[in-house]
C-alpha cells in the first residue's frame, strides 16, 4: 500500500509541475514573437502614444527602401507612454520614441531617455521648432495648436461675434459658455493653462483664471467629454445636446468635423478663436540603449522626410514642421493658420508644471 501512496503523491506533484512547465513554455513561446528587436537587426521598433498613425503605403515605401521591417508599439496616452519609456530606458521596448511634446520634453531628456542624432535634412526643419541645440537628442516632427473652438451656428443665431482672445473669454457676453479640461489629467487642459501662463506671466495667470471662473467656465476631466458631450458644435456634442458653444480643443478640430461628418458638410460647423492658442510641438528621438541603432537612425530620417511630413496631417491632424511640406486640401480649406500662438520654453514648463497645476486645481476646482 505504502508504495502506491507515495507513488500517487509523486504523480500529483509531477502533474502539477508538468503543467507549470507547460505554462512557462507557452509564455516563452509567446515572447519569441516580440521583444525589443535586439536579436534581429532587420526590424526597427517605434514606440509611441495611441494617436500615432501613418498611411500603410507610405510606411511600406520606407520599409522597401530601407530594408527594415517597422514595428509600431503604441503605449497609451502621451504622458503614460513617455513615463513608461523613462521607466524602461535601460532595456527599452524599441529603438525610436515618437510623441514627447514640449510639456514633457525636459522630463524625458533630463532622465537620459535619448541619445544624440542629427537627422538627414535637419536644415529643412523650421528653426522655431528646434530644441536641445547642438546636442540634438530630439528631432521635432509635428506641431499643433490648442485653441478654443466655437460653435458657428450658436453665435450666428445669437448674432454675437465669437470670442477672439483670452481676454474676450472673461467678458460678460460669453458668460457660462466655455468648457475646458482638467489641467492635471488632460493635455489640452494643460496646454490651455500654459497658454494663459505664457500670456499673463507667472503672477498674472491666477487672477485671469479667477475672472474666468467668475464668468462660469466649466471644467471636465478629459477632452473626450468636453468635446463630445458638452460642446454644442461637434457631432457627438449635438447628439448629447451639449450646451456649451465654446470648448478648448485643437486648431485642427474643424477639419476633422468635416472629414468625419456624414454627409460631409460644405463648411466646418466649428471655428477657432485664434487668439487663444498654445503651441504644442512633438519630438522624436533615438532611444538610449536601442537594440538597432542603425535602423533607428533610418527611421528618424524618415519621420523628418518630406514624404512622412506630408502624409502626417490627415493621419494625426497635426501640422508638418518641415519647410516646403504641402498641406492637404482639407486643411487649407477648413483649417486656420494661427499666426501668433503662445509658446513656452520646455525647461520653464518642467520647473513650473507641478506647482501651477496644484494652484490651478485649488483655485478652479475646489
Amino acid at each position: 500500500m505504502s508504495t502506491t501512496k507515495s507513488g500517487s503523491t509523486k504523480k500529483v506533484a509531477f502533474t502539477a509541475v508538468a503543467v507549470g512547465i507547460g505554462l512557462v513554455a507557452v509564455s516563452a513561446c509567446g515572447s519569441s514573437d516580440g521583444g525589443s528587436g535586439k536579436a534581429d537587426s532587420k526590424s526597427v521598433t517605434l514606440v509611441s502614444h495611441d494617436s500615432f498613425n501613418v498611411s500603410k503605403d507610405v510606411l511600406k515605401d520606407f520599409e522597401k527602401r530601407s530594408g527594415y521591417k517597422v514595428k509600431v508599439l503604441k503605449d497609451g496616452d502621451a504622458g503614460a507612454a513617455v513615463n513608461k519609456a523613462i521607466l524602461s530606458k535601460d532595456n527599452p521596448q524599441g529603438d525610436v520614441f515618437f510623441g514627447v511634446d514640449n510639456t514633457l520634453l525636459s522630463r524625458a531628456v533630463d532622465n537620459g531617455l535619448f541619445q544624440s542624432y542629427r537627422v538627414k535634412g535637419a536644415e529643412k526643419i523650421k528653426p522655431e521648432f528646434l530644441a536641445d541645440g547642438d546636442r540634438s537628442r530630439v528631432t521635432p516632427v509635428d506641431s499643433g495648436d490648442i485653441c478654443v473652438n466655437y460653435d458657428k451656428k450658436y453665435f450666428a443665431d445669437k448674432k454675437l461675434a465669437p470670442p477672439k482672445s483670452f481676454e474676450d473669454l472673461t467678458k460678460p457676453a460669453y458668460k457660462d459658455l466655455l468648457v475646458t479640461e482638467n489641467a492635471s489629467t488632460s493635455s489640452p487642459g494643460l496646454g490651455f493653462l500654459l497658454g494663459t501662463a505664457a500670456k499673463y506671466g507667472d503672477d498674472g495667470w491666477e487672477s485671469y483664471w479667477k475672472k474666468l471662473k467668475a464668468n462660469g467656465v466649466k471644467v471636465v476631466d478629459g477632452w473626450e467629454q468636453a468635446y463630445n458631450e458638452e460642446f454644442s458644435g461637434s457631432a457627438g456634442g449635438k447628439k448629447a445636446k451639449g450646451d456649451r458653444p465654446l470648448v478648448v480643443s485643437y486648431a485642427s478640430s474643424p477639419p476633422v468635423e468635416v472629414l468625419y461628418g456624414k454627409p460631409q458638410p460644405k463648411q466646418a460647423p466649428t471655428g477657432v478663436a485664434t487668439g487663444t492658442c498654445f503651441r504644442q510641438v512633438e519630438y522624436a528621438g533615438l532611444l538610449s540603449n536601442a537594440g538597432n541603432e542603425k535602423g533607428g537612425k533610418a527611421l528618424l530620417d524618415f519621420l523628418a522626410s518630406q514624404e512622412f511630413q506630408e502624409d502626417m496631417p490627415l493621419n494625426m491632424f497635426v501640422n508638418p514642421v518641415r519647410e516646403g511640406a504641402t498641406l492637404p486640401k482639407l486643411f487649407t480649406e477648413h483649417g486656420v493658420t494661427v499666426d501668433k500662438p503662445e509658446t513656452m520654453d520646455p525647461k520653464k514648463i518642467a520647473d513650473n508644471r507641478e506647482p501651477w497645476i496644484k494652484s490651478w486645481t485649488s483655485l478652479v476646482l475646489k
Partner: protein, 563 residues
C-alpha cells in the same frame, strides 16, 4: 481561531495525513508560481522602485505622503463613497435577491443573465451609458430636466448598476436554498411573520449578506473608470490617484505609498470576507431551489415583484438601452450605418477595421479563460480539503488582484518581464495573463463551495478501494464539478471580455480588444467615431449577455457557487 460550527457533510480533515498535505502542496505549486511571477514580483518591483532609493528603504515617505491634506482627502472620499455605494446597493438589491430566490415568474433566467451583464461590462462603456442617461441631454434631462453628471449621485448610481448582480447572485443564491418550512415551523409555534423571519431566516442569511456587502465594498473602494468618467475632476479615489501619480506624474514614491495603503485596506476587507465565507459554509439545511420558489401570491407579493421589476428596468435596462438606441441612431435616421462603418479601416483610429477587435477580444478571452480555469481549478482543488492557516492565507491571496490597481500591475510588468526568457512586454500572451489574474478569483469563488460540498466520505471510500487521489478526484469529484467548472469558465470568459484597466496598458495597437477599441473611438472627434463606439459597446453587451445566458442554462442551484 476556529469557529464553533455544526459539522454536516463536510470533508473532515485527516489530520496528520502527510499524503493529503503533500498532494495539496503539489496542487498549489502551479497557482503559487503563477501568482509569484505575474503578480507578486511585478507589484513588489514597482513599489520598490518608489521606496527603495539608493539601496535604502525609505519608509519615512509613508508619513510624508499621508500627511498631505489632498491625499487625506482622497482617502476620505474613497472610503466614504464606498460605504455609501455599498449601503445603497444593499438597499436596492436585497428585495431583488428575495424576488429572484423565492418567486417563479416567466423570464426569470433571462432576467438573471441580464442583471449580470453590467458586472462584466468595461467601465468605459458604463460611464458613457450613464452620461447618455443622466448627463446633459440625457434621458432624465429631457424628461424632467434632471442632470446628475459630475455629482456623487452619478458615481453611486453607476456603482449600484455594476454591483446589483453581486448581491442578487450571492444572497439570492443562498436564499433560494433555505428551507421555507423552517420559517413556517416558527409561525406554527406562534411567532409573527416578522419575528419568524428575524429569528430563522436572517441569521442564516447574514453571512451571505456580509460577504456580498464586502465584495461590493471592495469593488467600489477600488473603483477607477466610473469615478474618472462620471465624477468629473473634483472627485478622486485612491485608484484614480495611483493612476495619476504613476502614469501622469511619474511620482513613484507617492504612488508606492498609496499602493501600500490600498493593499492594506484590501487585505483587511479580504480577511473579513474570508471569515464570513467560512461562517457561511458552516452547513445550513439547504433544499433544492425549485422547491422554495413559487409564483407570487396576494397583492403584497405582486407589488414587491412589480417594484423589483421597475428597479431593474430603470437601473439596468435603461442605461443599456440608451447605448443600443444611440448605436442605431445613425446620421441618416435609424439604421445600421455605424455597424457598417466598423468594417472599414479608414477611420484613422486603428490600423485595422474596428470589427477585428471582436475577434481579438474573443481570442484573448479564450486563452485567458483557459489559464484562469487551470490556475483557479488547481487552487480550488488544493483549498478544498479543510485547510490549515497557510492555505487559508492563500485563499485570500488569490483575491488580491481584484483590489490592486491595474496601473501598478501594468507598470510592474513593464519593469520586470523585460529580460529573456521572460521578455513578455510586447508579447500577445501578456493580455490574457493579466486578464486571467482577474479571472482566477471568480473561478475559485465559483468552484470552491461546490468542491467543498462534495461528500468527503465518497472520496475516502474510493481511496480505501485503492484509488489514487487523482483517480478518486476524477471518479468522485469531477462528475459533480464539471458544471461548476463550466460556470467558472463562463464567468472568467465574460470578465476577460470586459476587462479594461490592465488591458489598456498592455494591449498592442494592432490587436485592440473591444473595450480598448471603444475607448479609442471615444477619444476621437466626429460623429462616426462616436457612433462606432456605441455600436461596438452594443456588440460587446450582446456577447456578454449571450455567454451569461448560456451559463444560466448550465447553472443548477446546487452548483451556484458564490456568483
Amino acid at each position: 481561531m476556529d469557529l464553533a460550527r455544526t459539522e454536516v457533510a463536510k470533508p473532515r480533515p485527516r489530520a496528520g495525513s502527510r499524503r493529503g498535505s503533500a498532494a495539496r502542496l503539489g496542487l498549489m505549486a502551479v497557482p503559487v508560481a503563477f501568482f509569484a511571477l505575474f503578480f507578486a514580483y511585478p507589484v513588489t518591483a514597482i513599489v520598490a522602485r518608489g521606496l527603495h532609493i539608493d539601496g535604502v528603504w525609505r519608509f519615512g515617505r509613508i508619513t510624508d505622503v499621508l500627511g498631505q491634506s489632498d491625499i487625506r482627502h482622497v482617502l476620505w472620499f474613497t472610503t466614504w463613497q464606498a460605504l455609501a455605494s455599498t449601503a445603497l446597493t444593499l438597499l436596492i438589491a436585497l428585495p431583488g435577491a428575495y424576488v429572484f430566490a423565492r418567486f417563479d415568474f416567466p423570464g426569470k433566467r433571462v432576467l438573471r443573465a441580464v442583471v449580470t451583464v453590467p458586472f462584466v461590462l468595461p467601465t468605459v462603456v458604463v460611464g458613457t451609458a450613464f452620461l447618455a442617461l443622466i448627463g446633459r441631454g440625457g434621458l432624465f434631462d429631457e424628461l424632467w430636466g434632471v442632470r446628475l453628471d459630475t455629482t456623487v449621485w452619478a458615481i453611486l448610481l453607476a456603482h449600484v448598476f455594476f454591483n446589483y448582480a453581486v448581491v442578487v447572485r450571492t444572497v439570492g443564491g443562498l436564499w433560494s436554498q433555505l428551507d421555507p418550512r423552517q420559517e413556517e415551523a416558527a409561525r406554527m409555534l406562534g411567532a409573527s411573520r416578522w419575528k419568524a423571519w428575524r429569528t430563522v431566516t436572517l441569521p442564516a442569511l447574514s453571512p451571505a449578506v456580509a460577504a456580498a456587502a464586502l465584495m461590493v465594498f471592495l469593488f467600489t473602494f477600488t473603483s477607477f473608470g466610473v469615478v474618472q468618467i462620471l465624477g468629473g475632476p473634483a472627485y478622486s479615489t485612491l485608484e484614480v490617484e495611483i493612476y495619476r501619480q504613476t502614469a501622469q506624474l511619474l511620482d513613484l514614491p507617492t504612488a508606492a505609498v498609496l499602493t501600500l495603503v490600498q493593499f492594506a485596506a484590501v487585505g483587511l476587507i479580504l480577511a473579513i470576507h474570508a471569515w464570513t465565507v467560512r461562517r457561511r459554509e458552516s452547513a445550513l439545511k439547504l433544499v433544492d431551489a425549485s422547491a422554495a420558489a413559487r409564483r407570487p401570491r396576494g397583492a403584497g407579493q405582486w407589488t414587491l415583484l412589480g417594484f423589483v421589476m421597475a428597479t431593474v428596468v430603470l437601473l439596468i435596462l435603461l442605461p443599456l438601452g440608451v447605448l443600443v438606441q444611440r448605436s442605431f441612431d445613425g446620421p441618416e435616421g435609424f439604421g445600421f450605418a455605424y455597424y457598417k462603418e466598423l468594417t472599414s479601416a479608414d477611420g484613422g483610429a486603428f490600423l485595422v477595421p474596428p470589427i477585428e477587435a471582436i475577434g481579438n477580444s474573443l481570442q484573448y478571452a479564450v486563452v485567458a479563460t483557459a489559464i484562469a480555469v487551470l490556475i483557479g481549478g488547481l487552487a480550488a482543488a488544493a483549498l478544498t480539503r479543510r485547510a490549515g492557516r497557510l492555505v487559508r492565507g492563500f485563499d485570500a491571496l488569490l483575491m488580491l488582484p481584484l483590489g490592486v490597481s491595474a496601473v501598478t500591475v501594468g507598470f510592474g510588468f513593464l519593469i520586470t518581464l523585460d529580460k529573456p526568457p521572460l521578455d513578455l512586454r510586447s508579447s500577445w500572451i501578456l493580455v490574457p495573463l493579466a486578464q486571467a489574474l482577474v479571472g482566477v478569483p471568480f473561478v475559485v469563488r465559483t468552484m470552491l463551495p461546490v468542491l467543498r460540498a462534495v461528500d468527503g466520505r465518497l472520496r475516502e471510500a474510493a481511496a480505501v478501494l485503492g484509488a489514487s487521489p487523482l483517480r478518486a478526484w476524477r471518479e468522485v469529484d469531477l462528475p459533480m464539478v464539471w458544471r461548476a467548472l463550466l460556470i467558472a469558465a463562463g464567468f472568467a470568459f465574460a470578465v476577460s471580455l470586459g476587462e479594461f484597466g490592465a488591458t489598456v496598458f498592455i494591449a498592442r495597437p494592432d490587436n485592440p480588444t473591444l473595450p480598448v477599441a471603444v475607448a479609442r473611438l471615444l477619444g476621437r472627434a466626429g460623429d462616426l467615431n462616436y457612433g462606432q463606439a456605441m455600436a461596438l459597446s452594443t456588440i460587446l453587451m450582446v456577447v456578454c449577455a449571450v455567454s451569461l445566458l448560456l451559463l444560466e442554462r448550465v447553472r443548477t442551484e446546487r452548483t451556484a457557487g458564490e456568483f
